[in-house]
């Protein structure tokens, strides 16, 4: 049991070093340790679920491990990670260098306050379950994260391949943009040369002027230099506008290049394979949306899970008789395993992409900790949600360990958020898609 935990820890460490921090130097080992610990404990939770299904290890030891794991994760997610996030954010701001610890504690208390407040408006339970209510909050936040990520990854794939239509002229567009970019840079350069030349002349004239002492010398120097500096500020404004233009052109060129590469990639076999997967995935997303709508509209909470229902259907309608217990165990194991593996993999990939997009050498520590927090929340909530897809007998231990949480509430909440984010991302993508072809026309 513990060996596997060590293994996961090592894996998290490796991932951190190889993927996330490829271009940065690890100066604060704490960050790395925290990240790996979060990863390790999240993975052990999944492992425990699998053991549950397989029936490995004795029931009491499983229970013990569950509890242990849960408490450690809660500890990490609520105390350790936010504290370090606050600490690193504060140490980045130069003003507050003196009393880092104090400010970090302040930040942490604010965080706890908001966390608690978030729980109030919801019909979450009895106040006697003090610690467990915190866990509910974690799960709620995690649920939101889960839906958003699932949605975005599903839709992104489908959208990426739908702009093949404007691919034919993209090469010319890129060349035209590059030419414009270089022309803008040339104009900036020539203006800057004028500024430098004028400044230098003014400086020399200033030196000559300094040799003339007295009242008239001062007046002369003021009048002659004022026209020069007016000119300068005018040119400087033009330069600023041109620099802004060059930045925009650069970003547009990068976008076009990225589109062009995506198009080329989609023509290869690998691209076609992913394209197909993308379609499959989007169909799956659509089906999920459908189910969510039905659940809400008919106010139904899923009591039976897909596995048992699938087996029921096969038994009743197809008349095939087979050993229900035996098969249900294996099938649910496989299903759960697939879900776990794909979600972990998807999460790690998304995190890596996100990290590359927004990190810089200053904020990399903070961002990694934020990612660790998100990861922890995601895993906790997916454990909760998985309860729905497992047959009844396996749900018992989960229910036991986590106490009386209103699972129904969670599923309802999940469906609502899923629907809302699905609709909004459809809308968003539609709008973005409409804008993109217009942009290409005007070039």
């Amino acid at each position: 049991m513990f060996t596997s935990q060590v293994l996961f820890f090592g894996f998290g460490w490796l991932f951190f070093m190889r993927q996330l921090f490829k271009d940065y130097e690890v100066r604060q080992y704490v960050v790395q340790v925290v990240f790996s610990v979060t990863f390790a404990f999240s993975c052990t939770m999944f492992e425990l679920i699998i053991f549950e299904i397989l029936g490995a290890l004795s029931s009491s030891s499983r229970y013990f491990h569950w509890k242990l794991n849960l408490y450690v994760i809660l500890l990490v997610l609520i105390f350790v990670v936010p504290f370090y996030i606050g600490y690193f954010v504060v140490s980045n701001i130069r003003l507050l260098q003196r009393q880092k610890l104090l400010f970090a504690c302040v930040v942490w208390f604010t965080f706890m306050y908001f966390f608690w407040k978030l729980g109030d408006p919801f019909p979450i339970l009895s106040p006697k379950h003090g610690i467990l209510s915190i866990e509910q909050l974690i799960s709620r936040v995690g649920v939101i994260g889960v839906t958003l990520m699932a949605l975005l990854s599903g839709f992104a794939k489908r959208w990426a391949f739908s702009d093949i239509t404007c691919g034919a002229y993209i090469r010319y567009d890129i060349l035209a943009l590059e030419r414009r970019l270089l022309q803008t840079m040339d104009m900036i350069v020539s203006k800057k040369k004028r500024i430098a030349m004028t400044r230098r002349q003014m400086y020399q004239r200033g030196e000559d002027q300094n040799k003339q002492t007295g009242f008239w010398g001062m007046i002369k120097s003021v009048t002659s230099s004022s026209t020069g500096s007016e000119n300068l500020s005018l040119i400087q404004q033009e330069v600023d506008a041109l620099e802004e233009l060059s930045r925009q052109l650069f970003l547009e060129t990068v976008d076009l290049q990225a589109t062009k590469e995506r198009i080329e990639y989609s023509k290869t076999f690998q691209g076609k394979y992913f394209n197909f997967l993308g379609y499959f995935f989007s169909i799956y997303c659509v089906w999920k949306i459908f189910m969510a709508t039905i659940n809400i509209v008919f106010d139904r909470v899923g009591k039976t899970d897909p596995v048992t229902r699938g087996i029921e259907i096969t038994v009743n309608y197809l008349g095939i008789q087979f050993d229900v217990k035996f098969w249900s165990q294996h099938i649910s194991f496989i299903l759960v395993g697939i879900i776990i593996v794909t979600s972990i993999r998807g999460l790690l990939i998304t995190l890596t992409k996100f990290f590359y997009a927004i990190s810089s050498s200053k904020s990399s520590n903070v961002i990694v900790l934020v990612l660790a927090q998100i990861m922890g929340m995601y895993f906790v909530s997916s454990v909760l949600l998985m309860r729905m897809s497992m047959p009844l007998e396996y749900r018992s231990i989960v229910t036991e360990v986590l106490g009386e949480l209103q699972f129904n509430f969670y599923h309802r909440w999940f469906d609502v958020i899923f629907l809302v984010s699905a609709l909004s991302s459809i809308l968003f993508l539609y709008l973005a898609h409409k804008q993109a072809p217009e942009k290409h026309m005007t070039l």
Partner: protein, 252 residues
């Protein structure tokens, strides 16, 4: 004092039929990882002032330094050196890299900037220099490098390099020697001079310091290679060693 006039542009418009030819410019790239201080360095070199609010460079920002070639001798001449500060990191997406490559055309010199407090930024300089120099190879030349570092290429490199290490003041006294030996190795590898400074303190580049001398020697070398070598094909990459005839100009 004579000044080099740029008659290709009339004010701000480019005259029709006579575009700003690449023959008239001295272009030096400033490369390095994000956050090492390239923008602060360029501002210091061009405006002789410390940059008050450094922000992330998107794309490329250019500034112009007025340099007196062969200062103090009768052949003194003023040149405008363009410092092109290209933003980004070596691990950027390939779309960003191909867009960046637009800026690497016809380069006359490269300043490689690394952060003395961050070893990775120094290691990434090898990749940066390869990215910039490989783009510059002539179309008929065979590209020898496959992305790996090869010391021989730098020894014969026609583009002058300068190595600048920033954030020198943030290194504690006891670690300074290690850092300096490390950078000495780097400068040997690149066959380049090195300067270590702090971009927020202009005294490192004050007139008369050895840093200022190295800097002005570097710019002189760039200008020489640009204007005073007898070689017609200026913009060659790594491989065409036999093609040029170097006229080495020694001056001290």
């Amino acid at each position: 004092m004579r000044e080099l006039e740029f008659t290709a542009t009339d004010g701000d418009r480019v005259l029709p039929g006579r575009k700003m030819a690449s023959l008239d410019r001295v272009k030096v790239l400033v490369l390095g990882d994000s956050g090492v201080g390239k923008s602060s360095l360029v501002h210091l070199l061009c405006q002789n002032q410390v940059l008050g609010n450094p922000s992330w460079t998107v794309g490329c920002s250019v500034d112009v330094r007025v340099h007196d070639y062969k200062e103090g001798t009768p052949e003194e001449k003023t040149f405008y050196i363009e410092l092109w500060d290209v933003g980004g990191s070596v691990g950027s997406a390939s779309s960003v890299k191909s867009t960046r490559a637009v800026f690497y055309n016809s380069v006359n010199g490269i300043i490689l900037v690394h952060d003395l407090t961050n070893k990775k930024s120094s290691q990434n300089l090898y990749r940066w220099s390869l990215e910039a120099l490989n783009k510059d190879s002539s179309p008929t030349g065979v590209i020898v490098s496959n992305g790996d570092y090869d010391a021989e290429q730098f020894a014969e490199n026609p583009v002058p390099l300068l190595l600048i290490g920033t954030k020198f003041d943030q290194i504690p006294e006891n670690k300074r020697n290690d850092v300096l030996t490390r950078t000495a190795f780097l400068s040997e590898d690149f066959n380049a001079e090195e300067i270590n400074l702090d971009c927020t303190n202009p005294r490192y580049l004050a007139a008369g310091t050895s840093n200022a001398v190295k800097l002005s020697r570097f710019f002189d070398k760039v200008i020489e290679k640009r204007y005073f070598t007898r070689d017609p094909s200026q913009m060659v990459g790594f491989t065409d060693r036999k093609r040029f005839n170097f006229k080495s100009l020694h001056y001290d």
